[in-house]
Symmetry: C2
Subunit: 148 residues, 2 copies
Amino acid sequence: MTDVYTTNALRLLQVADDFRAGLSGEFSAIHGISVNEFLLLLHLERSAANRLPRVDLARRMHVSASTITRMAVPMEKVGLIDREVDQRDARLVFVVATTAGRAKLSEALATFSKRAGYLFGDRCEDEEMDQFASMLRRLIAGTGDTLA
Amino acid sequence: MTDVYTTNALRLLQVADDFRAGLSGEFSAIHGISVNEFLLLLHLERSAANRLPRVDLARRMHVSASTITRMAVPMEKVGLIDREVDQRDARLVFVVATTAGRAKLSEALATFSKRAGYLFGDRCEDEEMDQFASMLRRLIAGTGDTLA
DNA sequence: GCGATATGCTTGCACTCGCAGGCGATTCGC
DNA sequence: GCGAATCGCCTGCGAGTGCAAGCATATCGC
């Protein structure tokens, strides 16, 4: 528990929780979406042709396939995303971002960046940020479907 | 989105999610507790006299008071924690860790440390870990009820 | 003292999520 | 071709959580 690894892992969880909690409130208040819906749109934006099979989306987002199914329903209803069935494999249902969805993502991303600025802005030197980025990139490595 | 702050915030969320997901499986399989129950016990351990009012616990854990109430029920039943009413203020219900609870925490902490080792061990230099720790400490600063 | 307000805890309701099971589509072995 | 195994998706159920409301206790203004 005085172990550096352990301490850092604990702090990592705490910082991430704090950040996510703050984000959650602002997202639902300003943009009317949840953090997960935001991440879903972001994954689409970072993918080829703004579309992904539901299963891929589930893997990338650390949630089950059923969650994607259920998340998609209201988002389709509001017009943020659309569904599209693959021509070759009728099992694959693609989730594709609409123009409205991409616009919403863009707004939400501005809010995200603002909060990221609050988090790091006045506490860190630029050089530290680069080290931090390099560190985090290595910690993610291995999954492949990285978001950043 | 190519902003360093934004990138780092995204990576931070992703790494934390990955780590928490891995932890969750091992905790429930080996120790029979959830990550949140582990964190609850840890907060108690790091507090004065191994006891905290439910409200404090809620604030520290980023959950609502009702969640603490409901989490406590099965944990009391299993004997990990006990309840204790304040003498001066009968509204305050303290959650206090039992000997069994502290033992369980100790085992779980070993698992936690092991996984923290997996996460950082082969990817980081010792010097980097110190920088990382310093960085994270600053990012947490302000809340006061820090865990690490 | 005594009512008004504030605080801590608990409970009803609604929502989100994962898991298990089922359905339809595809691919593989022969 | 054809049955079996696999894969992607959706639905029933149970677990966990937050919010609003309610209750008990404590504190403040007078």
